[in-house]
C-alpha cells in the first residue's frame, strides 16, 4: 500500500509513538494527577512532559496554556462556544471545515450572527472583504491555517494583525499545519490555536490540543473532576485543569508527547521542506497529465501537501477505487467534511480525490501515484473519446 491520505491522519507513526503508548499502558497505567504513589506520578509526568514538548513546538511560553482535547473538533467547539455569546457576530473564511461550520451553525441557532469572508477559486482569502465584514459587535474571526481540500495556506499572521487592529479575537484552526508548518503562537498574535494530534503532529488518533492565550477568557466546554480543588462543586479556574475534566487519554497523550519530541528532533523546517518537495513533485506531475484538473494554488506556491484533483469523465469515487484496486494507492474521495471549500473550487457536486502527502512518503511513491493517475486518465480519456 502507498498511503497518501495523511491529511485525514498521518501513517505510519514514528516507532517512538507506538513505544510510548505501550509503555504508558504497561508501566505508567495509573490515573495521572489523582494519586501520589510512583505509578500515578509516572503517569502525571507523561502528561507534563507531553505538554512541555508541545509548548516548545508551538512557542508557548507557558505550557499551562496548552490544553488537551479529544480532537481538533473538540478544541474548536471549546473555542467557539467558549467565546461566542448571543448577540455576537463571528466571521469565518469561505473554505472552513465542518469542524468550524457546524458549531457556528449551532451557535447561529442561539443568536450568534455568522458571516463568511470570500475566497478565490484556489482558496485564497479576500482580506479586504474580511475586514469589510467587521462590525461593532464582531467578537471573533475564525479561519483554518490551511485548507484540507485545496492545500491553500491562509495568511494567519496578517489576519491576526487585522483582528487585533479592530479589537476582534482570532481563532486559528491549525489541524492541517501543526507539526509540519512552523507555528509560533507567541509571535502569531492569534488568541486560540487549535490542532489535531494525529495529522502533522504524528501522534495517535484521539488526541488534540488547544493553545489559549493567557489574555483571553474562554468558558470551558465540559465541567467535571479535575483531580484538584475537589472540595468545590464549581469548575476550577486554573489552567490547564479548567479545560481538562475527567480522565485524560493518557496513553494517547504519551504517544503525542513522543511525536512532538520526534518533530523537535527532526526540526519543523526540515519536515516542512521534505513535505513541500514531495508535494511539489506530485503537483508538477499532476498538472501535466491530460484530462486531470488540479485544484488549489498553482505549482511553486507555498501550500500544505494536500492536493485535490478530478479526472475528466470519471467520478472521484471511481478514481479512488481504481487507485486502490489497481495500484494499491490509498487516497480519499468525496467532500472531506468541507463543503464550503468545494463550493469555492466548484466541486461541490462532483467532490474530488485528495492526495495527502506525509513526511514518511518517498519520491518513488509519488512517482507511482503519478503513473497511476496518468494510466487511469488515459483510459478514461479513451472511454469518453
Amino acid at each position: 500500500m502507498i498511503y497518501l491520505d495523511n491529511a485525514a491522519t498521518s501513517y505510519p507513526k514514528p516507532p517512538q509513538v507506538i513505544e510510548a503508548v505501550v509503555r504508558c499502558l504497561s508501566e505508567q497505567g495509573a490515573n495521572p494527577g489523582r494519586g501520589a504513589y510512583p505509578m500515578a506520578l509516572a503517569a502525571s509526568r507523561v502528561i507534563f512532559e507531553a505538554r512541555e514538548a508541545i509548548a516548545e513546538l508551538i512557542g508557548a511560553s507557558d505550557a499551562a496554556d496548552v490544553v488537551f482535547t479529544l480532537n481538533a473538533t473538540d478544541g474548536l467547539n471549546l473555542a467557539l462556544k467558549g467565546l461566542l455569546s448571543p448577540g455576537d457576530h463571528a466571521i469565518a473564511s469561505a473554505v472552513e471545515h465542518n469542524a468550524v461550520l457546524r458549531p457556528l451553525s449551532a451557535l447561529a441557532g442561539r443568536g450568534v450572527a455568522v458571516e463568511t469572508a470570500r475566497c478565490a477559486h484556489d482558496g485564497t482569502i479576500d482580506l479586504d472583504h474580511l475586514e469589510a465584514l467587521i462590525r461593532p459587535n464582531t467578537r471573533l474571526i475564525v479561519t483554518l491555517h490551511a485548507s484540507n481540500v485545496l492545500g491553500t495556506l491562509l495568511p494567519a499572521a496578517e489576519i491576526a494583525a487585522l483582528a487585533k487592529r479592530h479589537g476582534v479575537l482570532y481563532v486559528l484552526d491549525a489541524a492541517q499545519t501543526a507539526g509540519s508548518i512552523s507555528l509560533d503562537v507567541g509571535e502569531l498574535g492569534a488568541d486560540v490555536v487549535v490542532f489535531s494530534g494525529h495529522k502533522g503532529m504524528l501522534g495517535p488518533m484521539g488526541t488534540g490540543a488547544a493553545w489559549i492565550s493567557p489574555r483571553v477568557e474562554v468558558r470551558e466546554l465540559r465541567q467535571g473532576g479535575t483531580g484538584g480543588e475537589s472540595e468545590r462543586t464549581e469548575q476550577p479556574s486554573t489552567r490547564p485543569d479548567r479545560y481538562e475534566s475527567g480522565t485524560l487519554n493518557t496513553p494517547g497523550i504519551a504517544g503525542l508527547g513522543a511525536a512532538a519530541r520526534f518533530i523537535l528532533e527532526q526540526g519543523v523546517a526540515a519536515i516542512s521542506e521534505r513535505e513541500a518537495t514531495l508535494a511539489q513533485r506530485l503537483l508538477a506531475g499532476l498538472v501535466s497529465v491530460p484530462g486531470v484538473t488540479v485544484y488549489g494554488p498553482p505549482p511553486g506556491s507555498p501550500r500544505v501537501p494536500v492536493i485535490s484533483i478530478n479526472v475528466a469523465g470519471m467520478d472521484a469515487h471511481e478514481l479512488a477505487f481504481l487507485l486502490d484496486k489497481e495500484h494499491g494507492i490509498a487516497a480519499r474521495s468525496g467532500l472531506h467534511c468541507a463543503p464550503s471549500a468545494h463550493a469555492v473550487a466548484g466541486t461541490l457536486e462532483t467532490g474530488a480525490l485528495r492526495f495527502g502527502v506525509g513526511f514518511f512518503n518517498t519520491e518513488d511513491e509519488i512517482d507511482c501515484a503519478l503513473s497511476a493517475v496518468a494510466a487511469i486518465a488515459e483510459d478514461a480519456g479513451r472511454r469518453i473519446g
Copy 2:
C-alpha cells in the same frame, strides 16, 4: 507494587487490550469512516466491532445508540447539557461525583434548578425524599450507579421506575459499575447510561461511552465533521454520527473493544463475584482492625469493590504515603472528586483513603494490604497513646 486504585483506573489491562491498541496503531492506522481503501475499512471495522461488543455487554438492542466519548465526564456533560434547558428542574443524589455536580453547577448558572436527594451516612439514597422533590418542571433525575467513595450501590432500577412513574428522565452514571456489575439497558429503564471505558470496562484511558435510549432526543455537545452527509453545514441527526464529531480515538476504542470481548468471555457475573469476594475479604479484615474507621455499607451487603477508610490519629494522605513507601501498596487519598459523598460520610474535612479492588487482584494482595493497614494503625495507636 500492589495496585489497589482500580476505582481511578483499572490496572493492569488484559493483554488483548494492549495488543489491539498496537495492532490498530500499526496496521489499522487510517481514519475510520473517511475512506474506502482497505486500511480505512479496517479502521471502520475496529470501531464497528467495539460498538457491537459494548452493545452486547450492556444489552443494547441497537449498537447505534452507543456513542463513544472522551471519558465518562464527557458523556455526562453530553447527557445533562443535551437534556436540560433553562426553566428545567433536575434532581441528583447526595453522593454524586464532580462529573455530575460541576456540569449541574454550570447549568444552575443558566437557569436550571437543581436539588439533591438525601443519602444516609453509608450512601444509601432516601427514595421517599427523592420522590418528594419531583415538581411539575422536573426534567430529569441523575444518580451514579455506585459511589466512587463509599462503594454503595444505588437502586438504579427502582429509581428508573420511579422516574418513569412521574414522566421524568433518568440519567445513570455507571462509571463505577460498567463491566463489573451486570447492566442491561433494555431492562433497566434509564434514558441515558454513561460510563468510562478504563475502569471496570478494562479498556484504555481516554475512552468512554454513553447509551442513549432511542426514545429520547439529546442535543449533541459537539458539532463537526462526521465523515457522513458532508455537504450539510448542520450537524446530521443520525446516530451515532450526531454525537461523534471529529476523528475518534480509534486505537483507544480498539482497546476498549478488546476489553469488552474479554469481559464477555469471562462473564460479568464471574467478574462481579470475583471482585465481591476480594472486596468482602478486605472489608471483613478492615472492620476488625483497631483504630480503623470504614465508610460505606457494612460487610456482607452488596457493593462495588471500593472501600474508604481512615486510621485514627493519622491524615489520609499520610496513610497513603506509608502504604506506598513501606508496603508498596498503591491506593488513593483525598476527596476522589466527590465532595458530596464525603459530606455524607462526614469526611469532607479529613478526606479518606480509598482502596479500589480489581479483577486482577489476588487474595494474597488483599491480605498484604490488611497486614499493612494493621501495622500502620498499631503504630498510629501507639503514637496517640
